[in-house]
Amino acid sequence: MSELQYSLRSARDDLRTEPRPIRIVIIAIAVIFLTVFVVLPLVVVFAQAFSKGIGAYFAALSDSEALSAIRLTLLVAAISVSLNLVFGVIAAWAIAKFDFRGKTFLISLIDLPFSVSPVISGLVFVLLFGAQGYWGPWLQAHNIHVLFAVPGIALATIFVTFPFVARALIPLMQEQGTLEEEAAISLGASGLQTFFRVTLPNIKWGVLYGVLLCNARAMGEFGAVSVVSGHIRGETNTMPLLVEILYNEYQFVSSFAIASLLAMLALITLVAKTILERHLDEGQHPRGD
């Protein structure tokens, strides 16, 4: 780069930035704010979990109540993620590849659980399945347990995590269009073959991205699950619910030990998300762009 070009470039840069003291103040405010409001809460979880030593930490995690909460959380996440995966892909496919009336309404419907209070997401299922709910008496007569049991917890979790997979896929599938599918079909592929050989490979990073976020929310959901679970010890307590119960009983080490597992899940999710975003960006901007 010649000297003239260089001085021109730095002159250009000067036009687009602030004096040094202002820069330093802005960076300082941003860093201090994020440290106080985001980093410290995360650090405090681990500090409290290990405050009585590693022995107490692992003792808290191997407690039978803790183990049953971990099992229940994994079970509920497995149910809700797999169902939302299947229907999320189908919903995104229908919205991105076909035109029909009421499409915008359908998209808003999919988005709805994001903007509803988690407590309300739980409440709606209590109104349907509760003892005083619409179907409660019938369920009781047939001895079917939905509320205060695994089906209720799974339903509330599915409701809350519904948008993740579909949301991740709709823009991706819209951008890819239908050309490749049309080509496959015109070359004689069946509908299912087209889906598994053409559509699915194209959206695999998007699917993973949706599943990742869906899983993180499913394992961490508190408000909705709290309303439908009934808090039966050793039976209907998921990990976030057990964090609450132990905390209210002043068993801080146990509470924060379980919280630390959930915090680690959040951190792993964030790292994986960053990696996946890089893959998705590459997919969207082919070389030469």
Binding site: V44, V45, V116, F159, K273
Partner: protein, 261 residues
């Protein structure tokens, strides 16, 4: 197609319809009676008022954070950029117990604040703090891509026409970010209004003092006062519909206002 609609109906439409059906069983007098009770009104005021204030703080701090992340380079910038998403990813109950222990009277931040005479945990201030925590990623993640995409030429043109830096920022850059800032504000507000997990631990939950509306719904449910729970839920649900609607309008306005280059 039919499958999608069936599944959507079973999981989302029918449960929500159930809520409105339950609410329609109430007479208007009953409905107003529930909402006008002192405790309900206070809880709604706390949830909406503090959520609005927290979203306003997030609007300003979010803009500062985005500016630092996009325009400047400093050590740890990429890490701080990734950290912004933690309130999204951290389960709300975990955030709740962590914030409480941080701001409790013997906590890392609570102790020095108590020395200054400021009580955060178990007061409405605690609710405000938790709502700021939960809302910050909404503003940052909505505004960040817009600032990244902003044309350098516009700024250079303003500067070469003699505008000083402050004028360029306040008259040229900020106006073009208004739709994104409003959207981020609305999303942060909506989230904070309905927030439950990260708030209830730090709130103290005293009726008529530091009780949020979602908690009052849970309390009414546990007392089997379904009608009360439903009435409060309907108000909050209608509010979130209005916010979604507003966000969609802002987005459409932004698209027509700034022609695509």
């Amino acid at each position: 197609m039919g499958l999608t609609l069936t599944w959507l109906s079973v999981i989302i439409l029918i449960p929500l319809a159930g809520l409105f059906l339950k609410a329609s069983e109430l007479s208007l007098d009953q409905f107003w009676g529930i909402l006008a009770s002192r405790r309900t009104l206070h809880a709604l005021r706390i949830s909406f008022g503090l959520a609005f204030a927290a979203a306003a703080v997030n609007l300003v701090m979010g803009m500062v954070i985005v500016w630092a992340l996009v325009r400047y380079s400093f050590p740890g910038r990429r890490i701080f950029d990734a950290i912004v998403d933690i309130p999204f990813a951290l389960p709300t109950a975990v955030a709740g117990v962590a914030l409480t222990s941080l701001f409790a009277q013997k906590g890392w931040l609570g102790a020095p604040l108590a020395a200054l005479g400021i009580k955060v945990a178990f007061t409405p201030v605690g609710i405000f703090v938790a709502m700021i925590f939960i809302g910050i990623p909404f503003v940052v993640r909505t505004v960040q891509p817009v600032l990244l995409d902003l044309d350098a030429e516009i700024e250079e043109a303003a500067a070469s026409l003699g505008a000083n830096r402050w004028h360029t920022v306040s008259k040229v850059i900020l106006p073009s970010m208004i739709p994104a800032l409003l959207t981020g504000f609305a999303l942060a507000f909506a989230r904070a209004v309905g927030e439950y997990g990260s708030v209830i631990f730090i709130a103290g939950n005293l009726p008529n003092v530091s009780e949020i509306a979602p908690l009052l719904i849970v309390i009414r449910l546990s007392e089997f006062r379904y009608a009360d729970a439903t009435a409060i839920a309907v108000v909050m649900l209608v509010a979130s519909f209005l916010i979604i609607f507003a966000v969609n309008r802002i987005q459409r306005w932004a698209q027509t206002r700034i022609p695509a280059h």
